[in-house]
Symmetry: C2
Subunit: 522 residues, 2 copies
């Protein structure tokens, strides 16, 4: 259905109508003066759900999470260069996750830019490093067409960041024209020339099928499981995945570990690796005296299908070639309920509690960093659920992404697993969760230290860290009181220090309508 | 005193030593893996005070505030592109304020960048729009010299943003060389060719001397007051000023108003304007049907001295030319204690309370937005104090800048006046205030709405805003509880709803060692 009609409209109205016609109906925003006509258009043009955030990093992270679950972009509405800048690090994460996002960024009126007012900045310059597509509208008549192009760019597989600057006069001037949607491009074909050698490479335990991106949906994993069963190859996925389907009845797939030594050890046995939707494994960081390429020297790597290409066809081609179509998939998860853990919280106990409590159809947003490394194996036999990772490494993604996931899937429970250090980058997200009454159960793992950095000090060769260095990695002075913080933003909360209380608290959170925060003190 | 010696050192150590030798001794940081060698060097090289923040916007805002009071740059230490990105909007504000900042941004090891790891991004691209100087060190031997150049760039008048990327291998490799400080460039001369016409222009009430930047220190204002007394010209300063000295015995100077209609009315009488450290007045935003240039058509504008040029000489030249050296300055502030206000809080009542309570030598950080428009006139007769504005318009500057001011001036009281909407962009600053026990009394003006935008809706021509639009400007669902929020980060706090309680609370805050937050509910 088109919203187009013959009523005269301004540029902002043509923008909102075009976005709606192109299938976008959700906007995460923190607007300012230059965005007021877009804001006003929300009332004149019905259909756009607009969600207010207190800091723009929440908006861009929410758009990332929304895309991962909805499979289509949301838009953000941001105030000039600084508003975009506040959202930049979560756009970095979205870009690395392959999430489609349409940023609408207000700009001064065209005639005002040259005056270099206080808020004037090089917005296209700010947008460039995190955007696949950047454009500034030049007149009200062009805004609609520009918006359709932005949505088209955001929908390029697997999903792209498109940033459209809207000078305020192009928003308020009359003459807006609604543009028709531009059909999405089909995914490009995978590297069919490499199929034969890929099939040949997948043979026995020295061969690995490494998956990423859309290869981690339920059907693709099932195909991969058939291939593994038939060929004897191993299955792994990347450390960071935009969206991974897990739980009972699905094919279990483990991740290449983050810690460099574990990653090297995990990958060492493989002489042949076929990539489908994944990239060849590299270290998250460089470490002195350690390789950055994680595969053993001489490993044959066949890049069959990039994450932007037709992953379904690639897996079907492999499956046919291996004659595995009728083979029962390997590694299908049976239901496993871990024994009830007791006593003080530690990563293994927390993992067992999660394995016992993750509900059917849950969305797990994982930013638990060090505490979370134990979570993955023991939760494989939980009811069917979706697992989201941070693909760009910029911390502060967990709470915003949870907002987007909850908005996209109001009928699913979201479980946000977040380290205390990570939570504080975008803690303002709690307020939006309360405002929208989103069904998110948040567990903050309070070890009161940037624990990952304690390990990284050693990894990068610092052997004699002194008290000043350790102080820069410590969060215990003063203690962050997450229960009070949550309540100050309208989110009910509790603190737990042992496994039994954590399990009860998660059950309470899942039974609660709206957000609920659990501070788990380690 | 040089820290240089013959001990072999790595790049990170040469960096810290060079920064110290160049006069920088304060670092605001949120480090990550790639910055661990810099962090370790803080212990090996004594003298650098390192202050941890929970979100990088706090670090960059703190550096801005530090420069305004210390008159020299601090450095920030930020984690890769996303860490810099989180600090970008307050760097925008610092750039517009003319504050010198040295950003040290970790980068992957040079060999790792090409692998496009999750955290890889175009850091120079991110830095560019907010930096006057950008450079990536290429080897450990060059880091020291690069650091000296960065400090030199940051010290270019009035102050610049310099961003140095430090690949982790240049930090951990041996071969660091401490570089000597590069002497700061003198300020360029003002436009001496324009002096004669500037002197001629300043005559009677139709002439205006418009000041900004360093022209707002006590001595410069006194000179300007002499010129005004002798010539009969008016004195005004820009709406946004990096640092303005005020209070009893100082020359009173009012600001060009922010609201466009008031600004036009204020400037309308002037036929001749001489600029010293200020720019010709323009609108903060463009508004349909209203001029962007705020001066009346045909006004003669003489740009005598830019904010980067020798302002002291320019004012001395004007004073000499006007033969005003022995004239008593006009507009010197007498001590005025406003009558004690009573009853519910409103902007006028709050302003009177401030006029009664601002202590001698206080630093007032003003991000009170709409509530704060009444504060300026009635506080002119308070004891001597310093007033800081947001020069870049990116909100969320107040709390971070207060940190920097308090760190620079441990013997002065800081009074942070912040709107509730503004406070939430960088609320994480409270934790650092508690951690460092900074003497900041924070007043949050809780009107529970982005009130400035309610006005701006009308200003940009929206006459029929509906409920969805109004909802995007509202902060009352749920109510933010600032007292609980402050306590959750270790800051003692209280809530007030009337003028008497506000006055008592400010007195309590000023008598408290360390931070104290007052939620003033309007």
């Amino acid at each position: 259905m088109s919203t187009s009609d013959d009523t005269p409209m301004n540029g902002a109205e043509s923008l909102v109508k075009t976005l709606l016609d192109s299938g976008l109906d959700t906007c995460f925003t923190n607007p300012g003066t230059s965005e007021m006509h877009f804001v006003a258009a929300l009332d004149h043009v019905p259909g756009m759900r607009s969600i207010l955030v207190l800091q723009e990093g929440v908006a861009t992270g929410a758009a990332d999470g929304y895309f991962r679950l909805a499979g289509k972009p949301a838009c953000t509405l941001l105030h000039l260069g600084p508003g975009l800048a506040n959202g930049l690090s979560n756009l970095h994460n979205a870009k690395k996750a392959g999430s489609g996002v349409v940023n609408i960024v207000g700009e001064h009126a065209v005639s005002h830019i040259e005056l270099d007012a206080p808020l004037t900045s090089d917005i296209e310059g700010v947008a460039g490093p995190v955007s696949h597509w950047v454009h500034t509208s030049l007149s009200a008549t062009e805004v609609g067409a520009d918006a359709a192009k932005a949505v088209h760019a955001a929908n390029v597989a697997p999903g792209q960041v498109a940033t459209l600057m809207l000078p305020s006069d192009t928003a308020w001037n009359e003459g807006g024209i609604v543009a028709p949607p531009i059909p999405a491009d089909p995914r490009p074909a995978y590297d069919e020339a490499a199929l034969e050698s890929a099939i040949a490479a997948l043979s026995g335990p020295e061969s690995l099928l490494l998956l990423g991106g859309a290869a981690l949906d339920e059907a693709s994993l099932k195909t991969a499981g058939r291939i593994a069963a038939k060929t004897g190859c191993a299955l792994l996925c990347e450390w960071s995945n935009s969206r991974l389907e897990r739980g009972v009845g699905r094919v279990i797939i483990n991740r290449v570990p983050y810690p460099i030594d574990q990653a090297l050890k995990t990958l060492e046995p493989f002489k042949r690796i076929v990539l489908v939707g994944a990239r060849a494994p590299i270290g998250f960081f460089a470490y002195p005296g350690k390789p950055a390429i994680l595969t053993a020297p001489g490993t044959e790597i066949i890049d069959l299908c990039k994450t932007s290409q037709n992953i379904t066809s690639a897996l079907a081609g492999l499956c046919d070639g291996a004659d595995a179509k009728d083979t029962a998939p390997a590694n299908v998860a049976d239901a496993v309920v871990p024994d009830k853990p007791t006593g003080p919280l530690d990563p293994d106990g927390i993992a067992a509690v999660l394995g016992r409590t993750i509900p059917e159809n849950a969305i797990v947003v994982d930013e638990a960093i060090t505490t979370g490394r134990a979570f993955f194996p023991i939760t494989a036999g939980a009811p069917k659920h979706t697992w989201l990772n941070n693909c760009g490494g910029s911390i502060g993604y967990g709470l915003p992404v949870s907002i987007g996931a909850a908005v996209a899937c109001p009928d699913r429970k979201v479980l946000a697993l977040v380290g205390d250090g990570s939570a504080m980058y975008t803690i303002q997200a709690l307020w939006t969760m309360a405002r929208e009454q989103l069904d998110v159960t948040i567990i903050i793992f309070a070890n009161r230290v940037y624990k990952i950095l304690r390990g990284e000090l050693t990894n990068v060769g610092v052997s004699n860290a002194g008290p000043k260095a350790m102080d820069m990695l410590s969060l215990d002075r003063p203690t962050l009181k997450f229960v009070e913080m949550a309540r100050s933003m309208g989110v009910e909360a509790t603190q737990v220090t042992d496994c039994e209380a954590l399990e009860l608290a998660i059950e309470t959170g899942l039974a609660t309508q709206g957000p609920y925060l659990i501070e788990a003190v380690l």
